[in-house]
Amino acid sequence: MRSSIRTAAFLLLGAMALVAADSRTCWTERKLGKATEADACFAELTRSNSALDRAEGLWGQGAFEAANVSFREALTRDPSSLEARVRWGRLFLERSNPREAQQLFQEVLKVDEKHAGALLGMALVSAEGFSSKAEELAGQAAAADPSLLEAQELLARLALERNRLDEARAIGRKAVAMKPGEALDAMAVLAAADWLEDKPVSEWESNALKINPKYGEFYGIAARIFILHRRYKEAIALYEKALKLDPENWRDRSELGVNLMRLGKDAEAKQNLEAAYNAGFRDAATVNTLRLIDSYSRFDLIRKGNTVLRLSKKESELLRIYVQAELDRAIAAFDKKYRMKLSEPFQLELYPDHEDFAVRTMGLPGLGALGVAFGDTVAMDSPSARPPGEFHWASTMWHELSHVYVLKLTDHKVPRWFTEGISVHEETQVSKEWGDRLDPPILKAVREKTLLPVAELDKGFQQPESPSQVLVSYFQAGRIVDYIVETWGWEKVLSMIADFKKMRPTAEVVQAELGMPAAEFDKKFQAWLNAQTGKMANDFGEWEKKMPGLVKAAQAKDWPTVLADGPAVRDLYPEYVGKMSAYELLANAYAGSKQPEKAIDELWRYARKGGRDPGVLKRLASMLAEANREKEAADVLARLNYIYPLDTGLHEKLGGLYAKLGDKRGAITEFRALVAMKPGDLAGAHLQLAKAYRANHQLKEATDQVYLALEVAPGYKEAQKVLLELTAANP
């Protein structure tokens, strides 16, 4: 247990005049690998008259609950103690309770806004939450106490996490110079910087291990940096090295488990996570991930060729029909486009519970993403994880699969903005209707020209100033790739991928491949973008003013007003296909004015703009079918299979339309889906599938299905008739 205690916290004590020197000594000895001396030191602290010292001693012994009690006692005895608050906060932070920690640090900062320990604590809390404020706070801590080694080490780590290698190295060296015999974490950052650049040997590794040959956390720090660079395999190797030196570092063991999961190595993951759990390391990520692994008994693994689907048993029979077909199609397209084949089995996992997906991804619930790619594995929401119409699963799948190719082609060295940009670009290559619409925050950014320069676009993903900046950055990255493809062709994207594999910075790659400095590229891109979206961005305010009036008129069934004003309002912001869109209101007005053909035209506009509300699309399909435009009706309904296929009515209608249109394969697929959903009328579904097979001359399959229909409903006359016909034709 003891060796699992994080030791990085101790350097902070240098900033505290009131804390006994003994406590600092204990932590230093622990960090430097002097286990016997450290143990004795902490034991002595537990016998101190000072509650604060006892707390440190108990903490050092791994008696966290007792340490917690002693910190409380210390504050009861001296309610004004800032040091006790900071140290207690650090204990909370180490024990995965950043909220309590933050509260204590904030209490200190209210009294002393330049308290280095509290500022550092806040920086660490922010860093755990990947907040852009972490660097600022760490900088403030370093300024408040220039001798505070831990602040410098944190600054170096943050710079490296954000891919600023030169800066990370400069700060790291400065930290080492401050305390050459103690700055092990700074050395870990320096070594990680070397390894990120594929240098096989780093002098910093041997330097650090000379000081403490058992300092496994050296590799743990590097592993976490590699994870943030999405280089999971190398991170796992580093965790394994860390654990070889310090097998009881349960945090590292748990993180190793979580990352093995990411690569689909479930058995090894479980083994490591259980070891951490059984040793008492039960943070949310460990517990949630173990629960998720247990839940895998409720999933099916479907293997086909080089692919594996992990689907919930409750929907796998249905989803495999569409997901496998789409995955096969995407892989075939990408093999050709990226000129490589996936060498290792590729696993695609769909989670019907979004929180399971979040745990799968981060170990913690609450993730806002729809899908995540980890090397050869992609995890994403199932269409059932979100309300119908909110989520285009196929678009997400193509997006994530594209990451898999780009990460492989670059050995995971591609900058975040470029791989996201390619993925967003790929979303709309199958159909312009896929991908995301232009949301108000994007229009605002275009209008106010707050898009980031291409050379700094990674910041929008890694240090966003607001949640909406991430959204805007996805859009911007996608449009940049659109622009490159449109202007220079796809070949140029492949060349850039090759450049990024060599870890060349974005500005250099832009200059080399596109023949201009990054700043000039930004100007040209901005002009290109303005030509496409500038008007809409400028008109958005007008749309916001006029839309409520249109909605009001539609609610009052004032169709003449809707028909008069609707088209202009619609065209101010044609990308808006959300609830109560102008398309829908206009369609209602046309239908209410006995102009069904125009209502159909309007709803078609909605569909072609990427409208995804199943209710609206089904309405369009019904209107088309009524107007004997059955091919179009089928085309509309087919879109819903990519949005929300868990709908028996959809498959029944679409299957019927395909059968009528003579699309035999289509009818079979849809009725297979209907049967897979086990609808209320299961017998009827089997019979429809039987008829579809019969139409396609698959008489054995047809007979099997009709028997299944009759097994459910033995007296089903229509099925009996079909059975007799089939057996007469094929005795």
Binding site: L646, Y707, P714, G715, K721
Partner: protein, 312 residues
Amino acid sequence: MKIIMALAFLLAMTPLVPARSAYLIVVGHPGEDDYKVRFQGWAQQIENALADSPEKPQVKTVGATTGGATLAELETAINEAAKTAGADDIFVLILIGHGTFDGTDYKFNLKGPDIRSAQLAVMLDRIQSTRQLVVNTTAASGGAMPALVKPHRVVIAATRTGTQKNATVFARYFADAFSDASADTDKNETITALEAYVYAARRTKEYYDQEKRIVTEQSVLNDIGSGVGVRDPGANNGQGLLAASFPMLRLGSTAAAAANPEKAALLKRKELLEQQIDRLKYQKESLPPLDYRRQMNALLLTLAQTQAQIDQ
């Protein structure tokens, strides 16, 4: 649907259509205009489906167009049914509207004074029909279950308990069961109370799943005359036997062949085949899959051939 399979045998023995069927649809006080339109629509949907059925049962609706029935109107309608319905007839009461539960008693909201579940039970006891179906589609309707259960009576409630107090959607799907042929899962051209219940419960669940809403209603059924209602009637809880043989809506003429003496032997053969199929289904788990499939297919083919001869 094990229960449905098990009951095919029972159905074969029980006349599907008793002498007469009487339906009473009571629409309660809607509160808001929006609900008024919905309640009226669901009542009308059921009424239309019954009017279109070959059986043409007696149907009375109160409160749909008047902003909700009053207690007097409800009592009068039940008393009328009590006078006309004989012991062999079936009686169906469908309550559409809002309900409340105060922790002890359930009330169906009417225009004016509401009716308590115990009061309603007393009124229903006046009806001679030994086979009764009470469908309470309101919020908190599970709270009325203890007062309404009685031998030979099927009671369906939209909510499991009285504490499920949010407005329900069960009524919408129960009404749909009258007009959606897919509710007839065993394809015998009769939608039974159990089939309608299963259909509505399934559609209600789908609604909450699709809308990603917290489930605030879980329908239940009781047809054993005591205890609580169950969500999934079946052999494991002994519920559903009566409901499975309770015809709510006939979609076609299933009895015509029975009137022809020349078909008697064929009908007997058909009946035996159906029994064999049921028995085989029960043996499914204990048989090798291929044996089961071979035997089942042979029986189903013979049954189809027999039915063809009956229909000639």
